[in-house]
């Protein structure tokens, strides 16, 4: 059967679907950013526009007690900005308007009789013959520029003593925050994730203490019950990861559903007849790898493997394992649901912080160091996602079952060598999926003598006379690699 053809960039092996998706994503992000950067809000009067459409040679400015500024009776966007020793008006009144003015006069009225303390200045560049700022009354300042060319920029400045202007809370807050130096924000950026980490860690610890899993006092030499390795993995880790997938693949090999081929040029998975009983989630995994094809080229399989940003089948596979473990009564609630809860919080927090991070540079130039705070928030969000999913939710039955399985793990990782025996070698492969689940496959292999090992019939290699070590060195990377890759597409890449 011919699979659907997908074009690839030959050098990078890039999948076109993903390439187009992310290109479109970044394009949209770029356009959005440009729109935000250049947008002018028509609902708000913009002082820059006023400056550009100035036609009169006399401008009247009024500063209100709340910091608002009116130009010729119209409220403008510019406001009084707080500084350390004074509140400052710094306003561009003429900016490259394109026409010549013989004389430009700006009358500024302050909200109190403090004109003589306001250190008025006029900055006039790019073609202005002369400029002057004068106090003309207790609360009035007159700025004047002559010979103002069409390319000139004229700015008026007044420094109003503290206490005259009652600035809004937001302005004062921004000013207060902007006064904290970079060091303060840097420390905040470290403290926030640290506190999140400590809080969640303590929470997990507290839950673990109340739901203690009894440490086994002895090792047991056989699995305590007939459970699929993946379910044992969920019971132990509350998560379906690469090891659960790898262990399932070995288990399927042991049960003669698939076989693994190891060659110099790569490896392959072969499919045998699916006549035996397969669990629902195992079907999804096999379907993901083989689909229904009878013969599939390497190219097609490879494309299939990278076909999606995430695989729905792998998602169903993980859901199936969680559901089975929950049905067996091992968890108070489905672990997938608990994961989603923390993922949702973490992802929302992360993207909120990411957006604020970029917007803070654009809209709050005096608050650049606050970006450290948003970085801290993003790190916290990642911590919430990672640590939150570790919250123990096992039932009494689950804890008891896990305790039994840990006794079996004790046996698998026991350093004492097992006697040379053909039966023991059979044990090695039979228990290998569980050793993979408990991360003790290397310790498990060390219990066996190198000599006399017979490679199981589901592992086909073109090397002759391979021993136990060669077998492990060949199998583990293959299984680990496939498990890892399949694990990355089981959900839409939140990790």
């Amino acid at each position: 059967m011919e699979g659907k053809k997908q074009k690839k960039i030959p050098f990078l092996e890039i999948n076109w679907r993903k390439f187009v998706f992310f290109s479109a994503f970044f394009l949209v992000a770029l356009v959005t950013w440009q729109l935000i950067s250049t947008s002018k809000f028509s609902a708000d009067t913009n002082d820059e526009n006023l400056a550009k459409t100035l036609t009169s040679s006399t401008v009247t400015l009024n500063v209100e007690g709340n910091g608002s500024v009116y130009q010729d009776g119209v409220k403008i966007k510019s406001r009084i900005s707080p500084q350390k020793d004074f509140d400052e008006l710094r306003l561009v009144v003429f900016d490259k308007n394109g026409y010549y003015l013989d004389d430009l006069k700006i009358d500024l009225t302050l909200p109190a009789t403090v004109a003589n303390q306001s250190n008025p200045q006029i900055l006039a560049i790019h073609g202005v013959d002369s400029s002057i700022a004068e106090i003309s009354g207790d609360s009035t300042i007159v700025y004047e520029a002559t010979g103002v060319s069409g390319t000139a920029t004229v700015t008026v400045i007044a420094q109003i003593p503290k206490g005259i202007i009652q600035l809004p809370i937001l302005d004062r807050l921004i000013y207060t925050l902007s006064n904290f130096g970079g060091k303060v924000w840097f420390i905040v950026a470290i403290i926030i994730p640290a506190l999140t980490l400590i809080y969640l860690f303590l929470l997990v610890l507290l839950h673990q203490r109340s739901q203690r899993v009894l440490a086994p006092d002895r090792a047991i030499s056989a699995p305590p019950m007939a459970l699929p390795p993946a379910v044992v993995g969920v019971l132990a880790n509350q998560d379906v990861g690469s090891r659960e997938i790898a262990a399932t693949l070995i288990d399927l090999s042991l049960r003669k559903f698939i076989f693994i081929v190891d060659r110099d040029r790569g490896f392959a998975f072969g499919k045998r007849s699916f006549s035996g009983v397969l669990l629902e989630f195992e079907k999804f995994l096999l379907s993901k790898i083989f689909r229904n094809s009878l013969k599939i080229s390497e190219q097609q399989i490879n494309e299939r493997f990278v076909d999606h940003l995430y695989s729905h089948k792998m998602s169903l596979f993980t859901r199936g394992i969680y559901a089975l473990a929950t049905r067996l009564g091992y968890f108070r609630e489905n672990p997938a649901r608990m994961h989603r809860k923390y993922q949702f919080i973490g992802v929302i927090l992360f993207f909120f912080a990411l957006i604020c991070f970029f917007l803070s540079f654009k809209y709050f130039p005096t608050l650049q160091y606050v970006s450290f705070f948003w970085i801290g928030m993003m790190v916290s969000a990642i911590i919430v996602i990672i640590i939150g999913s570790k919250m123990p939710i096992r039932t009494v039955l689950g804890r008891q079952a896990l305790s039994n399985w840990l006794a079996f793990k004790k046996y698998l990782s026991d350093p004492a060598p097992l006697p040379y025996d053909t039966k023991n070698y059979q044990k090695f492969v039979d228990y290998l999926p569980y050793a993979v689940i408990f991360r003790c496959e290397a310790l498990w292999a060390r219990r066996f003598a190198e000599d006399g090992f017979v490679v199981p019939d589901w592992f086909i290699s073109d090397k002759q006379g391979i021993g136990l070590e060669d077998f492990c060195l060949s199998l583990y990377p293959i299984i680990g690699y496939v498990g890892q890759n399949l694990a990355t597409i089981r959900e839409p890449g939140y990790k």
Binding site: E13, T155, I301, T488
Partner: protein, 188 residues
């Protein structure tokens, strides 16, 4: 011997390259944004006010972090937010006068605290127009472009407070490479 007829499927490569790429790209963008705003930045010279030290079309590296730990020195080439429109206009100039000094431009020469300033990076016999005297406060710097005849600088818009200084120009890296070294001065 392998019965190759049995092999009906194989997996060689893993997926998620682009996903990983996107993740690292996001991280790179965040780091580059932080570097751009706080550590170093790149800018393009536009205008002739710093001729011959900097000319239009040159790409320069701007050190933004130095002035968090040290004070600007006389002769530093700096990027500053134009005090008349700090959010929209940036200029590249040279620091001539330091806080607390008196700067005077008279008869085409520059005086610092009544001593004539010799600037060896300027073309010989260059004339500095726009006479005036400026007493700098303890937060103000006097800046001028090296192209004295064609530069809008502190002679026109007055001294610049430190809060308007963005950073120090350290390198020109395109179309040629040159290190911008702070010169030493002689007073006569």
């Amino acid at each position: 011997m392998i019965n190759r007829d049995n092999i009906i499927g194989k997996i060689v490569y893993g997926g998620s390259f682009i996903f990983d790429f996107a993740r690292w790209l996001l991280l790179a963008i965040i780091i580059l944004t932080l570097v751009h705003f706080f550590i170093i930045s790149i800018f393009l010279v536009d205008g002739e006010s710093m001729d011959p030290t900097l000319t239009t079309g040159e790409f320069c590296l701007l050190d933004k972090i130095s002035y968090d730990f040290s004070q600007p020195q006389r002769g530093d080439v700096v990027v500053l937010n134009y005090p008349g429109d700090p959010q929209h206009n940036r200029y590249v100039k040279r620091v001539i006068g330091l806080p607390g000094e008196t700067v005077e431009v008279k008869n085409g020469s520059v005086f610092i605290n009544n001593k004539i300033l010799t600037e060896n990076y300027l073309p010989k016999d260059i004339f500095t127009p726009k006479d005036g005297v400026w007493n700098l406060s303890n937060v103000e710097y006097f800046t001028m472009g090296d192209n004295r005849l064609n530069s809008n600088d502190s002679r026109y818009f007055g001294p610049v407070e430190k809060r308007f200084l963005v950073g120090k120009v350290v390198w020109v890296f395109f179309p040629h490479f040159a290190s911008i070294i702070t010169p030493s001065y002689n007073f006569q």
